[in-house]
């Protein structure tokens, strides 16, 4: 080029790198928007982990207050008073509990106040952050006067996104990056554009629209609130959680305790940080897909994503992906072409859910115990600790069921559509159990368990602890198998309907059963911890086993059994609401004949007839036996008769389970169990009224015990028999 020539050479525009054209999808993509996203549950897990940790931190910080010295003196005084006024250990304990109750309740209020403060400041930061961001980044309103063409396009895109109210568009004219960002708070959203992006409007309008639609997808799905709540919570957790803990670590009585606090705080900070990132990552791919769907068929999303820098990491270096707040561009591109990766759940998802629940569990139980110190509960002879454990596990089971249940449900959809067998829930069950088992140790309360230092006791404790975790995993595995079998049935029918399925009944059923199982196993673990704090070694399995025995006869088991039977039968017996093509399940039109025909319905009549026949046979046996024996005056004979009648009912239930599961076409095990349980209810009723007819008492409590024993023992026999029958015979 010659300098000073009259006709300057035409300048070549400086442009961004060009990118590859999108690839056409090979098979119809599944529609992830038809199913609940896991972002909500991940956020709830984050909140649970922060609440659990916050409760412990403020419990610990309480000891740093001058008030705590007076409390210790109060404990000593209470102990002296209790010992002075009673000799029976139980009475001493009751007096001590009542005496220290005001102190413990004050501590509970302090802990709640601390967590309340964390949550309150989180909300405050979430509310204030948009304005702060606006000022700090000097974002100004993008006006129609200045850029009428850009503004008109933005308005059109808002209409495309069908937003109830359009966000306000701001921009930073000087920022050269071509980036958009949705932020704000509920009811007041902003989409910030950069100068580089507005310039992109004039150079590459489809790319500009892709970026803006991606941000509008965040607004539409409510992601903006989740994102900024997660970010605010992380910041406030450091400020009001970890900093006070760090300041008071010096109060630890010894180096061991201080070290325990420090590593737990670090582990927890890492976990909360990773959970926050998981929340932020999980929403991005959905926004890409939504934007691409809105823009179809001229979407530039693939082009935009291809232009993003992407570093392929292999092996152990992949851990660095966990630190990212966006998924890798390659993964996003693959999800755009095939959404099936969004329909998978793995060990680590389940592990994260278990860990968050495990961290929160002991702190919440401690809070409830402190708040109710000195108050005796009278719910089916459970102690306050048991009620606290069950209430907490029920709450946390909702979260675990949310993450795991929704994940498995979605993976079942993909399996059905692709005509392959469902994924095994073994890894998921293992993840939940390991997470829960580890959570108690990573959580701060783990450092404060007063375990014995005797080597044998520690060994026995460790073995039993691992055994309990293995039992928990086995139970969760069975529950998830049951859930997936029922979900497969319902989804097969729903994939022949024009309307999307309701997911919450499935989620509720899983939550109930999971809550009861987790409640029992965590209760056993707590009792094992109590035993290991100074009781003889032989009591370890006894105490842990007591939790299972107690639960076996509680009404909760009847509830679990009812749920286990009712849920699959209801979904299998349901009718199609709107028969038609399942367009709701796909982003691309599905080909006809893609799906298997819906399974045969449940033969409820056969199930009822079988139970009735069994009950009539039982009636004959019981009446004949009673007539043969005559009036029962001897207690031993009465017990033998009771055991005999229950045994007869259990045997008949076993027979019913085998017959019905052999004949059944679908949900064979459940149908067998349902016939056995229905027969069990009828037979318990018969046994009760026959007993009354032959001169026995019409005792309500006795009737309930008879029903519980018949149902639980009957189910314990019927379930393996139905399973064996289903395995060994063809439907």
């Amino acid at each position: 080029m010659s300098i000073g020539s009259t006709s300057p050479p035409p300048a070549e525009p400086i442009t961004s790198p060009s990118v590859a054209a999108p690839a056409a999808p090979l098979r119809p993509r599944l529609n992830p928007f038809a199913f609940p996203s896991d972002t909500d549950f991940r956020l709830l897990l984050l909140i649970a982990a922060v609440i659990g940790s916050g409760l412990f931190i403020y419990n610990w910080v309480y000891f740093a207050l001058p008030q705590s010295r007076a409390d210790v003196a109060m404990y000593q005084l209470c102990q002296q008073q209790a010992q002075a006024h009673a000799t029976d250990p139980a009475a001493v304990n009751t007096l001590f509990e009542q005496c220290r109750a005001p102190v413990e309740q004050k501590k509970a209020i302090w802990m709640l106040g601390g967590v309340g403060l964390i949550l309150l400041v989180t909300v405050a930061v979430y509310l204030v952050a948009p304005e702060y961001k606006r000022r700090r980044q000097r974002l100004v309103a993008l006006t129609a006067d200045e850029f009428p063409d850009v503004f008109a396009t933005l308005e059109r895109l808002c209409q495309t996104a069908r937003l109830s109210s359009s966000p306000r568009f701001l921009w930073d004219p000087l920022n050269g990056a071509a980036v958009g960002l949705a932020f704000g708070r509920r009811g007041s959203y902003y989409v910030a554009l950069t100068g580089g992006l507005v310039a992109r409007f004039y150079a590459d309008r489809p790319a500009f629209e892709s970026v803006v639609l991606h941000e509008l997808a965040h607004v539409r799905s409510g992601d903006v609130d989740k994102t900024y709540i997660a970010i605010s919570m992380w910041q406030v957790f450091i400020m009001l959680g970890l900093v006070p803990l760090a300041l008071t670590v010096v109060l630890a009585p010894d180096l061991w305790t201080a070290t325990g606090l420090v590593w737990r705080a670090a582990a927890l900070a890492v976990f909360v940080y990773l959970l926050r990132n998981a929340v932020l990552r999980s929403r991005e791919t959905y926004a890409d897909l939504q934007a691409a769907a809105w823009q179809a068929p001229n979407s530039a999303m693939t082009r935009v994503l291809s232009a993003l820098p992407d570093v392929q990491r292999t092996g152990i270096a992949r851990w660095r992906d966990l630190l990212r707040v966006h998924p890798r561009a390659g993964a996003r591109l693959r999800a755009l072409a095939d959404t099936r990766p969004l329909f998978r759940i793995g060990f680590w998802d389940a592990f994260g859910a278990g860990l968050a629940a495990g961290i929160a569990y002991p702190s919440v139980v401690t809070l409830i115990l402190l708040a109710f110190t000195g108050k005796q509960t009278d719910i089916w002879s459970w102690t306050t600790g048991e009620v606290a454990g069950l209430a907490t596990s029920s709450l946390l089971a909702l979260l675990v069921a949310g993450v795991v249940g929704v994940g498995l449900w979605r993976s079942t959809v993909a399996a059905i559509v692709d005509g392959r067998s469902s994924v095994s829930p073994a890894a998921i069950a293992g993840g939940v159990a390991v997470g829960l088992g580890l959570g108690a140790w990573v959580g701060f309360d783990g450092g404060f368990q007063l375990l014995t230092t005797d080597l044998l006791s520690v060994l026995v404790y460790a073995i039993l602890y691992l055994l309990l975790i293995a039992m928990m995993a086995a139970g969760v595995f069975v529950i998830l198998r049951w859930f997936m079998a029922a979900s497969t049935l319902s989804l097969r029918r729903e994939l022949g309907e024009a309307a999307p399925p309701r997911w919450w009944p499935n989620f509720l059923a899983l939550s109930i059963v999971l809550a009861i199982w987790l409640g029992v196993t965590l209760q056993a673990r707590d009792l094992l911890g109590v035993a290991a704090s100074g009781l003889p070694v032989w009591l370890y399995p006894v105490l842990a086993g007591a939790a299972f025995l107690q639960a076996a006869w509680s009404p909760l088991d009847v509830l679990a059994l009812a749920c286990v039977i009712a849920f699959p039968l209801i979904v299998a017996g349901g009718r199609k609401r709107r028969p038609g093509r399942p367009d709701w399940a796909f982003l691309d039109p599905p080909s006809d004949g893609l799906l298997d025909p819906a399974p045969q319905p449940v033969a409820f009549r056969r199930l009822l007839v079988a139970a009735l026949v069994g009950a009539i046979a039982y009636l004959v046996i019981v009446v004949v036996t009673r007539l043969a024996i005559g009036p029962v005056r001897d207690d031993v004979l009465a017990v033998i008769l009771f055991v005999g009648e229950v045994a007869a009912a259990v045997i008949i239930q076993g027979v019913l389970a085998v017959i019905v599961s052999r004949k059944a076409a679908v949900v064979r095990i459940t149908q067998g169990l349902a016939a056995a349980s229905l027969g069990g209810v009828l037979m318990a009723t018969i046994a009760f009224w026959v007993n009354v007819a032959f001169g026995g008492k019409a005792d309500g409590a006795g009737a309930w015990s008879l029903l519980t024993v018949t149902l639980i023992v009957g189910a314990a026999v019927a379930l393996p028999l139905a399973w064996l029958t289903a395995r060994l015979t063809k439907a």
Binding site: S5, E12, P13, I14, S16, T194, V211, H326
Partner: protein, 161 residues
């Protein structure tokens, strides 16, 4: 801080932006106004401030602030050169302002006519190019882009031989 750019700088940089990054032309007035308020911030942000949660084509550069900054340097240099020319042409009725040079260049480009204004020699234009490249490189612009930008700027200043 000034609220508005020097008109010579604005004219020169607008023309260069039109040639090199036409998509940025609609933004020129806003960006130049912001630049005038805080040039340092404008140059820093032009390279694309990282927005962790944002989405888009993250590799980006807003050329306008860079062009304005180079234009400022160039205009300053040209001003000093014109001063020398003015001293040499003492007593002759010629326009010895930068604006005159720019107008002269624009007029000669459009009509081929010669106006009564001083024009830069080839050697001076080469010097201008060197100054522009040097400034562009100091602003972290890749060398090839710096050269293209300098060429565009020199072309704008060039007068009929």
């Amino acid at each position: 801080m000034a609220e508005q750019l020097d008109p010579d700088v604005a004219d020169l940089s607008r023309d260069v932006v039109a040639a090199l990054a036409p998509a940025e032309l609609p933004l020129f007035n806003t960006v130049s106004r912001e630049y005038a308020k805080d040039p340092e911030r404008a140059l820093k942000a032009a390279a694309g401030r990282e927005e962790i949660l944002g989405f888009g084509v993250e590799v980006g550069l807003l050329l306008t602030p860079v062009v304005i900054s180079i234009a400022e340097t160039v205009i300053k240099f040209v001003g000093s050169e014109i001063l020398k020319l003015g001293q040499q042409a003492a007593g002759t009725a010629v326009d010895t302002t930068v604006r005159g040079v720019l107008a002269h260049a624009a007029a000669s480009r459009s009509s081929g006519a010669h106006s009564q204004a001083v024009s830069l020699s080839a050697a001076q234009l080469a010097e201008v190019r060197k100054v522009a490249v040097s400034r562009a490189v100091s602003l972290q612009l890749p060398h090839d882009q710096a050269e293209r930008l300098a060429d565009a700027m020199v072309a704008r200043l060039a007068t009929a031989a």
